[in-house]
């Protein structure tokens, strides 16, 4: 399906959801409106409505609106910036990881090639292995389970709501995503504080738990769910809007349970969105530095995710070579995550 088809269907589908609730009739987006056929009048409910013929003109019919040199001139600045300031550091990380480059001393003037020394050193460092483990737990629970789970739940449960309740929830969720990370970290310090923290005040009884010291990993996981659910919610919301409402109605009429509806109709239809979201959320969470603002990696390295580890060895100890080696490990893990998702995506496409 092309993007255009998806978008058009999206716009047509969204107001259709409004029909059953009969709420205040607010349009979901700027593109809503126009005349939309009542959903239930669609008799052919068992088959997917035929997508409109693709608007793609074939190459011969196309008039060149832009010539090659101009096109190259238009593309060059962007690709140049991407190449130099994004791609190059990554390649360089792989190389630097093989050297003993340091900020000061002889190794700073003429770094030597040390081969895989940094990598074996990393594997022998218990703080590295624990950091890797912490990062994976953090990614799984705050990113994949937390953000995606809550994001989907919100998008699914409130998909037909169009009143102030939905707007309020949406604004709150998105706010927590928009407010700068530095501020959010302060908010959560205040929220979790042992003496005057709001969380302790909310728990009945005389609780004075220093959450950031007692449950540091749990704290950053919940913190990150709070922080990042908006993205998953927005994406799933867009995905659910591409579902033909008639399919859901059919399921409802034929007495399918919510779980059956989700399993047989919703998940297969939005699996592409799910995988893309999962991919992005996992990689972002894996590389997140924000826990640093909340805990600084402590107490006693318990929340030192890999990004903080790299910062500590690279900038804290000035060991650029070793830091780069860990960076390289992170890059490779990112790549593996990406490849795994591609694999899954391809397998499912084949099956479909």
């Amino acid at each position: 399906m092309t993007a255009d088809d998806g978008r058009r269907r999206n716009d047509a589908a969204a107001p259709g959801h409004d029909v059953p609730t009969g709420a205040d009739g607010e349009q979901p987006g700027p593109a809503g409106g126009g005349t939309v056929q009542p959903v239930l009048a669609d008799e052919g409910t068992t088959s997917v409505p035929e997508p409109e013929p693709r608007p793609k003109a074939d190459a011969t019919a196309e008039v060149a609106v832009i010539n090659k040199p101009t096109a190259i001139g238009f593309v060059a600045p962007a690709l140049g910036l991407i190449g130099v300031f994004m791609m190059f550091p990554a390649v360089w990380a792989l190389y630097l990881g093989l050297t003993n480059y340091r900020v000061t001393g002889t190794a700073a003037r003429e770094p030597e090639f040390v081969g895989t020394d940094n990598f074996t050193r990393a594997l022998e460092d218990p703080l590295f292995t624990s950091s890797l483990w912490i990062t994976l737990i953090f990614m799984a629970f705050s990113g994949v389970v937390g953000q995606m789970g809550l994001g989907f739940t919100l998008a699914w449960l409130f998909r037909r709501w169009r009143g102030w309740t939905r707007r309020t929830i949406e604004v709150l969720v998105i706010m927590s995503w928009i407010i700068p990370g530095s501020v959010v970290a302060f908010l959560w310090r205040a929220f979790l504080d042992g003496e005057g923290g709001t969380l302790n005040a909310l728990i009945p009884g005389d609780v004075t738990t220093e959450w950031l010291l007692r449950q540091p990993l749990l704290a950053i996981i919940v913190f990150n769910i709070w922080r990042g659910t908006a993205f998953a919610m927005l994406l799933f919301d867009a995905a659910l809007n591409t579902l033909p409402p008639s399919h859901l109605e059919t399921a409802k009429v034929s007495g399918a349970s919510t779980w059956q509806t989700l399993r047989d109709i919703v998940f297969p239809a939005v699996r592409g969105h799910m995988l893309t979201t999962a991919l992005l959320v996992s990689m972002w969470t894996f590389n997140l530095f924000t826990p640093f603002l909340l805990t600084g990696g402590g107490p006693n390295y318990q929340t030192e995710v890999l990004a903080i580890y790299v910062y500590r060895v690279g900038f804290g100890q000035g060991d650029f070579g070793f830091g780069s080696a860990v960076s390289a490990v992170m890059l490779v893990i990112n790549l593996i995550i990406a490849l795994v998702y591609f694999r899954v995506l391809r397998d499912r496409r084949k099956k479909a």
């Binding site: 993007a3 609106v65 994004m86 791609m87 302060f186 790299v310 992170m330 890059l331 995506l345």
Partner: protein
């Protein structure tokens, strides 16, 4: 119409009504819980800045605006907000302008597999995260002599954000009908004129989306300025907020809270504005 009638029968069934009512109550309960989960940590930002003696607890403030006076009288606070503004505006400008040019060209010139190419590019930008490459990024900026300059920060932020911006924008560009441009071309308009007078007005929502997205990201970015800047007077707000301590070495909460409020307000207002004007959603920008 068979469907219609079966639905109506369903609704008159008493069991179904009870079940529907219960699930409705459960749903409202869940909505309240979720609302509280997201709202409660934010309360501090609304109460503490207006409290004469802000602590870490949320309390009904003994109302005052002195904390804000304190921010405006603090030269570092004011400078850092100005730095944030400069960085955000310039870097966002770079992202939007270069993405618009490149997105337009990529949308109009037929390169085999360009969608896949763009997707790979965006994917790669997620693989090559700024945090994983912080050491080489620092060295690169150091080697080209831009360490401790805003230029260095702008370049790194722009490079990191462009792939996604490009990816989102190209989708919008594809939706511009070519016939507009063709008639403009027949009338003798240059490529730049076409882009400026026809394409940009049509894809304005797309440009708004990536501009807001970039601005919010840059405004809140901590790591890049944190590693690339050394002088305190160049720090943006994201970094400076960690340097507000009182004599006892504890965060100066009256300053921090009011500062955090002022620092958050612009992005929050911008979100509300964009949400009201364009609707803040993803329109198939990230698909597949």
């Amino acid at each position: 119409m068979r469907l219609m009638s079966s639905l109506q029968i369903d609704e008159t069934d008493p069991m179904t009504t009870v079940k529907a009512l219960l699930s409705r109550i459960g749903l409202y309960l869940f909505a309240v819980i979720v609302g509280l989960f997201f709202a409660v940590p934010m309360l501090w930002l609304l109460t503490a800045p207006f409290d004469a003696t802000p602590g870490l607890n949320v309390s009904w403030p003994s109302f005052t605006l002195d904390n804000f006076k304190g921010v405006f009288e603090n030269p570092r606070a004011v400078t850092s907000l100005r730095n944030s503004l400069v960085l955000a505006v310039i870097a966002t400008g770079c992202v939007v302008v270069s993405a618009a040019f490149a997105g337009y060209a990529l949308s109009r010139v037929r390169i085999p597999g360009r969608n896949l190419l763009l997707y790979m590019l965006m994917l790669f930008s997620a693989v090559v995260s700024g945090t994983a490459t912080m050491v080489p990024t620092f060295l690169l900026i150091y080697e080209i002599g831009l360490i401790n300059t805003h230029t260095g920060v702008v370049l790194i932020l722009t490079g990191g954000m462009l792939p996604t911006a490009l990816f989102i924008l190209k989708d919008f560009m594809d939706s511009v009908p070519r016939s507009y441009e063709e008639s403009a071309q027949v009338a003798g308009a240059s490529s730049i004129q076409i882009l400026k007078d026809i394409v940009v007005p049509v894809v304005r929502p797309g440009l708004a989306v990536i501009a807001v997205w970039a601005l919010v990201n840059i405004w809140g970015d901590f790591l890049t300025p944190f590693i690339l800047l050394r002088s305190a007077d160049l720090y943006p707000a994201a970094v400076v907020i960690y340097n507000f301590y009182d004599e006892t070495g504890r965060p100066d909460l009256s300053l921090v809270s009011a500062f955090a409020f002022l620092y958050s307000i612009p992005v929050v207002l911008m979100y509300l504005f964009v949400n009201a004007r364009y609707g803040f959603r993803f329109h198939g920008g990230i698909k597949r």
